[in-house]
Structures are given as structure tokens and as C-alpha cells.
Amino acid sequence: MSKIDLSVTIGSLKLRNPVLLASGTVGYGNEMSEFIDLNKIGGIVTKSLSLKPRKGNPPQRIVETPAGMLNAIGLANVGVEVFLIEKIPFLKNYDVPLICNIAASSIEEYVECTKILTCEDTIKAFEINVSCPNVKEGGLQFGNDIHAVGKITEKVKACTNKPVIIKLSPNVSYISEFAKVVKEEGGDAVSAINTLVGTSFNIFTKRPKLHNVTGGLSGPAIKPVALAKVLEIKRLVDIPIIGIGGIMNWKDVVEFMIAGSSAIQIGTANFINPNSADEIIKDLENYCTSYSIEKISELTGSYKI
């Protein structure tokens, strides 16, 4: 039997398989490496990095919901400088494509972060978070502002040769319009989706459970929404899509690929089973063997509607 080809490409980025670990659900890799062989996965997306370290929101930051969870972490992160000095050396020990996720509160800050990070060889691509629902400052809700998303794509592209992936917000009416702007401004791919805005109350105190009042919903509960967003983009815009949202097992991955994803990211599932990416990759290989799929990339956009 010939070997199954699990490799996929996202613009100029070649990945050995389509299974990446999502931003904010792998830290910077070191804790995860206790449970999973990082050399086996398709890639790691770092926690969103900002120019300066961010403390994040006060507790309570997470609430469990039916088949999901709300988080309002508030982009707590070490900042680009500490990342380069303290976190990169660990990641250099692994042969796994590293995608740096950047969050900022101004276009200038996105540019500044990209300029600093692009010099580091270990970083293979950038994922630009224009869609975090949990930070107030900055004045601009970039994720909802199509011109801002276009501008950020253009400016970030101008300061790096590495692939630039824009991570889109699902909290908009037509996500495909945003994907279109990303393509027009030279973006290499889009990630869809970030979390959906949600909240939850304590019925006895009548107070919100999250200190931030609202948070981002993730987990299996959001999978149908995420799939519909991926499909919408696939049908209307010719740009590679990284599908994200509630992926727990190989069947979910196949579904996301059929809907139009070239690759996928695993988020909340890492908290429940930090080895799930490895298990999913093995299961995907078995699936391809059973159904005589030689190249997994054949699945992308293979829906019949």
C-alpha cells in the first residue's frame, strides 16, 4: 500500500499534515510537550503576542457552557521581547512549523510586532488576530471594521516576506466580505473562526459570571457556526482557509475540509485531551487508507451541494 499523503499547503507554507494547534490553547508549546510529540503535528500557533506584555483580565476568566466554554482571558501574554528571549529557544528544539499570532490595539502596533518577529527564522508565518472579543482598549473593534482589516493586511504584508494569515471574527454579518478584503490586500490565507461573543449570569446574584461580562464561546457548541462560515468563504472567495471551531476528533476535521478548509486548528480540545492532535492525525491516516484517499488535500472543498 502506498503511503498516504497528509501534507497540505497554505499559500507558500507547506505543512506535513493539516492539524495545527490553535492560538491561546497551546501557550508557547512547553507545557503541551509533556503530553504530545510536537514533531508530529502540522504546526503550532502561539498565544496572541502584543508589543508589550499584557496582564489580562481579572478573574473569573472562564465559564463552562453546554458543550462549550466562554473565555475572557484578555490576551494575557509575555510580549514579543520576552517571547523571543525566553520562549523561542524551547521551540527551536522541535521540527514543527511555528506560526506567530499577533494581537494589537493599533495598526502601528501590528506593524511593529511583525517587524520585530519577522527576523526570527523559527517563525514560519504570521496569524493576525483582528478578532479577539475580550479587550476593550484601542477604540477600534478591528474585527468588525472591514477597512481596518484591509489596512492591517496591507501594512503587515509590506513588512514581511512570510505568509500572512488573517484570523477572522465570526461576529459579523458576512465573513466572506472580510476574506475578500484580505485577498485583495495580498493576505495569504484566512483562519476562521475566532470565538463567538457570549455571556452567562449567576441567577442568584444576577451578576455575570465573567468579570469582563462577555467572553468568547468555543468548543463543540460552535462547530456548526464555524462550518457555515468556512463554507461561505469557500463559495465566494478564492483564498486558502484554516478551519477552526469545536474540532474534537478526526470526523470533525474531515467535515471542515469538505466545507473548504485546507488545514484546521484544534483549540478547546487541547484542554480536555492535550494529546488529541496526535490521535486525530493517526485517525485521519486510517480514514484515508479506508476510503482510498491518496492525498488528504483532495478533501478541501469537496462538498456536493
Binding site: 491561546g24 490553547t25 497551546v26 501557550g27 507545557e31 503541551m32 509533556e34 503530553f35 498565544k47 506584555p53 496582564k55 489580562g56 481579572p58 478573574p59 473569573q60 476568566r61 472562564i62 465559564v63 463552562e64 453546554p66 458543550a67 462549550g68 466554554m69 473565555n71 482571558i73 494575557a76 468548543g219 463543540p220 474534537m248 478547546t268 487541547n270 484542554f271 480536555i272 485531551n273 492535550p274 494529546n275
Partner: protein, 253 residues
């Protein structure tokens, strides 16, 4: 750290609806230390989705024990586990109690289910150290003394032992506490831990507390469990990774 599916051996029912579940898990029993915890997946379904954190209550050979009462969905499922069924454990997690410091008497202060980590603690305390346990509850059915030694009890309503809070009881016994060098080890409701902090600082006692927080991962990747640190205002500590046991002077309760 391991992820292991471990078979349940037995569920023991203590008084007042408190359960102790005994699980065969040689990987974890050989490594875990008092005050560390496990993140337990009680169901393969997405209901509930997240793991549930539980302190290690006791260890006997290849077996570990967890103490809990039925609170919500997760503990309800855990309570229904029968011999031979497995539960999915992730751990050992976090930093436990520092038992080996320079002190002569370990003063345990436990409120309600805060008694959970202490049976194993009592077992592991070095032979040359004494133990006194102060156990508090609102009423007598909140008082848990399982696995403890040299016990003094307080209840807010006086239904068992001393009438008053466990802090009042500590104050009553200051004379004993001031004999030789003591270290307080405490776990319980946040209001109690706040009072313990004040008490320890006022009397210049060493004190470690085990605290709780909402958690998703339990091992430092989600950033879901922050606690304000007294030494670094720029950064939160993480309850799961830097704790759950902290020097009481290092955190803002």
C-alpha cells in the same frame, strides 16, 4: 504528568453525603505529593465538556483517593461510578505543600471540604513533626475529620465543638500555638482563607494555603486561573501551575 484511564475500585460514603472514590492508578500514586491535584474527565461525552479538578485526598499503594460531594453535573457523574468503570485522570498537577521546612508542629486548618487534601498530608508529614488539626464548619454536618489527627472542632452555630469560627478557635488556642515553631497549612472557603492570612500575618506564623479557581486545562496553557500576586503587579500567578498551594503572603486573597 500522565493522562491515564484508571479503574474505580470502590466508592466510600462518609457521613453527611461526603464521598471518597478509590481509584487504581500506579502511575499517579507513585508520583503525586500532598496538595497536588488531578484534573478528572468524568465523561467521554461533551456533557460536561471540561475536566474537574480534585486534590489528592490519600494514597495507599497503587491506589489514590479523591474526596468530594455532589455539587453539579460533574460530581454527580463521578458519584455514580461503580467498581471497574474507569475515570480519565490528568496529573499530578501543580505544586503541593512544603512539608520539610523548619518547623515543629504542622497546624492544619480545614473548612468543610477543605479537609480533602489532608489525609495524605498527615501520612507524609516527617516523623519528627507534630500535627494539630483545626476543623471548622457552619454546622456539624459540614465538619469533615476523615484521616485527620489531634482534632479540634468549631462550628458557627455551636452544634459541634467550639461555637464560633475556626479563627476564633485558633485564637482561643494561641498559647499552644506559640509553643515552639509552627507552620499553618490551610484549605477551605475563600472567606476563611482570607481570615487565616490575617491571622498568620498578625501572629507572625508561616502559612501555606491551597486555593481554588475555575479551570479549563489545569496545566498552564489556557490562562484561565489567575490569582493576584503580591510580588509582581504586572503579572498574575496561575492557580494550576504556580499553585494551588501558595505561601499565603505571596497572593492577594
Amino acid at each position: 504528568m500522565f493522562i491515564v484511564k484508571s479503574p474505580v475500585e470502590q466508592t466510600i460514603e462518609l457521613e453527611n453525603n461526603i464521598l471518597v472514590i478509590k481509584v487504581h492508578s500506579p502511575e499517579i500514586s507513585s508520583e503525586i505529593k500532598p496538595g497536588q491535584f488531578l484534573n478528572v474527565r468524568v465523561s467521554e461525552t461533551y456533557s460536561p465538556l471540561l475536566r474537574r479538578p480534585f486534590s489528592v485526598c490519600d494514597v495507599e499503594g497503587d491506589f489514590i483517593f479523591l474526596m468530594f460531594n455532589v455539587l453539579g453535573e460533574g460530581t454527580k457523574i463521578l458519584a455514580q461510578k461503580r467498581k471497574g468503570e474507569t475515570i480519565d485522570l490528568l496529573g499530578p498537577l501543580g505544586h503541593g505543600f512544603n512539608l520539610d521546612d523548619d518547623y515543629q508542629t504542622a497546624v492544619i486548618v480545614a473548612g468543610g471540604l477543605g479537609a480533602a487534601p489532608f489525609p495524605y498530608f498527615v501520612k507524609k508529614i516527617p516523623n519528627d513533626k507534630r500535627i494539630i488539626s483545626f476543623v471548622g464548619g457552619k454546622t456539624n454536618n459540614e465538619v469533615i475529620t476523615y484521616g485527620l489527627k489531634n482534632i479540634l472542632i468549631s462550628t458557627d452555630d455551636g452544634s459541634l465543638g467550639f461555637k464560633g469560627t475556626v479563627i476564633d478557635l485558633l485564637n482561643e488556642n494561641l498559647e499552644i500555638l506559640n509553643k515552639g515553631k509552627i507552620k499553618i497549612f490551610s484549605c477551605g472557603p475563600n472567606a476563611m482563607l482570607k481570615a487565616i492570612k490575617e491571622f498568620s500575618i498578625k501572629n507572625n506564623f508561616e502559612c501555606e494555603v491551597s486555593i481554588e479557581s475555575a479551570m479549563a486545562c489545569g496545566f498552564g496553557i489556557c490562562q484561565g486561573c489567575p490569582v493576584e500576586s503580591t510580588s509582581n503587579k504586572e503579572k498574575y500567578s496561575l492557580v494550576c501551575k504556580d499553585g494551588p498551594v501558595f505561601n499565603v503572603r505571596d497572593i492577594v486573597l
